[in-house]
């Protein structure tokens, strides 16, 4: 009996320790102790990629709202985030990208945003805020804050003849086994569609998708590896395992900074990744949620994103604070170039896209 009681005491102590650890955590939460009362109070919960919460980004926000209890949680992919929210996790402001917005709206996870409460709405680049995924059924569901365009990236030393088409990636015998594509059904199917002459790569019929799948399988020997993220791409490029591939403009910038020879061309069309902040349908503290959204599209975090990650930023006010050379590097000196980009998105028949992509990977 005494042993049982001792076990119960030990178990209680252990549970207490867990609770104490929870209370003691301070990395991701900041509660103002004695700051003067601000207009925004209570708690706001933010759910996003890690780069939303690095000290350079989150600390100025915490300083702006000392009376706000800010809780943050990170994810490493949109799929993870959607699964977690769908199954009961609650966050007020969610970091979303255009390809996920529609799915999240259909699941009832996001609510429309009142753009009159977004201070920088009028100064956002129109090319970014008009993209599908930002607007859905006539309502704004996501305020874009960062993005980037894609195209063909190649090593001019290894590919002196140059590349100007996605088709070259699949058909040029000189590139056999030295090409990389992103491990993503959306981007692989979309660029293959463009290589085969489709003007709108996200409006594909079942027959189109079947033809794209067959083409991909027939030219699979061109592909050395499918990359996940810029770290993967850079490793493949630097090690010489690949000499060309589909990639994003910030990869080119990162490699240029590292001193590698690199060329970037938009080929038949540039896909744009656009991410921003969305408002959870379960948000209770709207004032705090809008404060967070306003912050993420303001020049302070955007300047950091542009300088550190070479992301294209959404607010034209930020451009004035950036080095003109960086502005040119990001392509922001010619904002019309963004107009031509096609936002990554998940079409209605995305299941067919996934099936075709699975067939390609398994072949």
């Amino acid at each position: 009996m005494r042993a049982v009681r001792r076990t119960a005491v030990l178990a209680s102590l252990a549970v207490f320790a867990l609770i104490a650890a929870a209370c003691g955590s301070s990395s991701s939460s900041t509660t103002a102790a004695d700051g003067s009362p601000g207009p925004v109070q209570g708690q706001v919960t933010l759910f996003g990629y890690e780069d939303n919460f690095v000290p350079e980004v989150i600390e100025p926000f915490l300083a702006m709202y000392p009376d706000l209890d800010v809780q943050t949680a990170v994810f490493s992919s949109n799929d993870e985030a959607v699964t977690k929210i769908q199954n009961g996790f609650h966050a007020d402001v969610i970091n979303v990208c255009t390809e996920e917005t529609g799915r999240m709206i259909d699941m009832g996870l996001l609510q429309p945003i009142d753009t009159s409460r977004i201070e920088g709405w009028e100064t956002l680049f129109p090319a970014l805020k008009d993209q599908p995924g930002v607007t859905y059924d006539g309502q704004v569901y996501m305020i874009p804050n960062v993005g980037g365009t894609s195209g063909v990236i190649y090593n001019p030393d290894e590919v002196p003849q140059g590349i100007d088409s996605y088709r070259d990636l699949f058909e040029d015998p000189a590139l056999a086994g030295k090409v990389t594509l992103e491990d993503s059904a959306a981007s692989v199917i979309a660029i293959t569609a463009m290589a085969l002459g489709h003007e709108d790569p996200f409006a594909l019929t079942e027959e189109d998708i079947a033809a794209i799948r067959d083409y991909l399988i027939a030219h699979k020997s061109q592909i050395r590896a499918l990359f996940k993220g810029d770290a993967d791409f850079l490793n493949l490029y630097r090690s010489g395992e690949i000499v060309a591939g589909f990639g994003y403009h910030d990869y080119r910038a990162a490699m240029e900074r590292e001193g590698y020879p690199v060329e970037f061309v938009p080929a038949e069309g540039s896909l744009a990744w656009i991410c921003g902040v969305g408002l959870s349908s379960a948000t209770e503290n709207l004032d705090a949620a809008y404060a967070a959204m306003n912050y993420y599209v303001s020049p302070t975090p955007q300047k950091f994103y542009a300088e550190s990650y070479t992301y294209v930023v959404s607010d034209q006010r930020t451009i004035e604070e950036l080095d003109p050379e960086l502005v040119a590097e990001l392509g922001l000196d010619d904002p019309t170039s963004l107009d031509a980009a096609i936002a990554l998105q998940l079409p209605d028949n995305y299941d067919q896209w996934l099936a075709a992509y699975r067939d390609f990977k398994a072949a």
């Binding site: 076990t7 030990l10 178990a11 252990a14 549970v15 320790a17 867990l18 609770i19 650890a21 929870a22 955590s25 301070s26 990395s27 991701s28 939460s29 919960t45 990629y49 890690e50 780069d51 919460f53 690095v54 000290p55 809780q71 943050t72 949680a73 990170v74 994810f75 490493s76 993870e80 699964t83 977690k84 199954n87 009961g88 996790f89 993220g229 810029d230 770290a231 850079l234 490793n235 630097r238 090690s239 990162a254 590292e258 550190s308 990650y309």
Partner: protein, 281 residues
């Protein structure tokens, strides 16, 4: 009868094959770790040859990073709490499935071992749904409970294997000689289980400390070390920092395992002629 070991040892091709196989297995097991450690000293953000200049910059950055320190602290606290609970529950479960005869014993054994074969993603989402339904706020408590769910079956498996090899007559003999239940536990059963308990404790700690999937889904707004690593690896410039801190963490974990191994060996030497592995299982 010829000693098969002697035959293998005397055959040169067989010895070469054994060495090649050993090197292959070691490369497979420790090659990735070695590469990670090597490039944590490389003054470049990508993991590829040629090796640039030697640097300790990534270690400095990693140790100065407040998120790294906080996430490490959280993971250590979690694992330190999860470990004894898992060892206790796993040991009790092991006794329940190996030492007592009752009608549903096989069913209980399957239920205890179930989490070892069910994919962690399913367990994670299931636990998340469960916590959500009972309106339990996600946090360290839910992460800790979830870690126990996956760690204690492992402990139960290790302790069960050890208990199955334990001759119950030793226990009966102790009782015949007048030992109380507590004395039997203290002087007969626990010494026999000690190596398995130590191994279980190390593994339970490691299960909790290194767990990403379950932590991600059952956690709220806490940052643990694996969560930080997974979320950070998106950017190439973070890779060397992750390499550096992962090398340090791996070195500490390896050190703990070697320490436990050394203690086993020392104990085995005291019980002359006992193979340390024999003591474990």
């Amino acid at each position: 009868m010829r000693d098969p070991g002697a035959t293998i040892a005397s055959s040169l091709p067989a010895r070469i094959a054994r060495v090649v196989f050993l090197v292959f297995v070691l490369l497979l097991l420790y090659g990735p770790l070695a590469i990670l450690a090597l490039f944590s000293f490389n003054d470049a953000i990508v993991i590829a040859l040629p090796f640039e200049t030697f640097t300790l910059e990534w270690y400095r950055e990693a140790l100065q990073n407040t998120l790294v320190r906080e996430s490490l602290k959280n993971s250590i606290v979690l694992a330190t709490v999860v470990m004894p609970i898992s060892v206790l529950l796993g040991t009790l479960a092991a006794f329940a499935v190996t030492r007592f005869a009752y009608r549903m014993r096989s069913g209980v054994a399957v239920l205890v071992g179930g989490p070892l074969v069910v994919p962690w993603l399913l367990i994670s989402v299931g636990l998340l749904l469960f916590f959500s339904r009972i309106e339990m706020p996600l946090g360290f408590l839910t992460i800790g409970l979830s870690h126990v769910v996956v760690a204690f079956p492992l402990v139960a498996a290790i302790i069960s294997a050890r208990l199955l090899r334990f001759d119950p007559r030793q226990e009966e003999a102790a009782r015949d000689l007048g030992a109380t239940n507590t004395e039997v536990l203290r002087y007969v059963i626990l010494p026999h289980l000690a190596p398995a308990l130590a191994a279980s404790a190390v593994l339970a700690f490691s299960y909790s400390f290194n767990n990403f999937v379950i932590t991600f889904f059952t956690g709220g707004f806490e940052l643990t070390f694996p969560t930080w690593v997974f979320s950070t690896l998106r950017h190439a410039q973070n890779v060397p920092i992750v390499n550096a801190i992962s090398t340090l963490v791996s070195a500490v974990q390896l050190g703990v395992i070697l320490l436990v191994w050394w203690l086993w060996n020392r104990r085995a030497r005291r019980h002359a002629g006992v193979d340390p592995m024999e003591m474990l299982w």
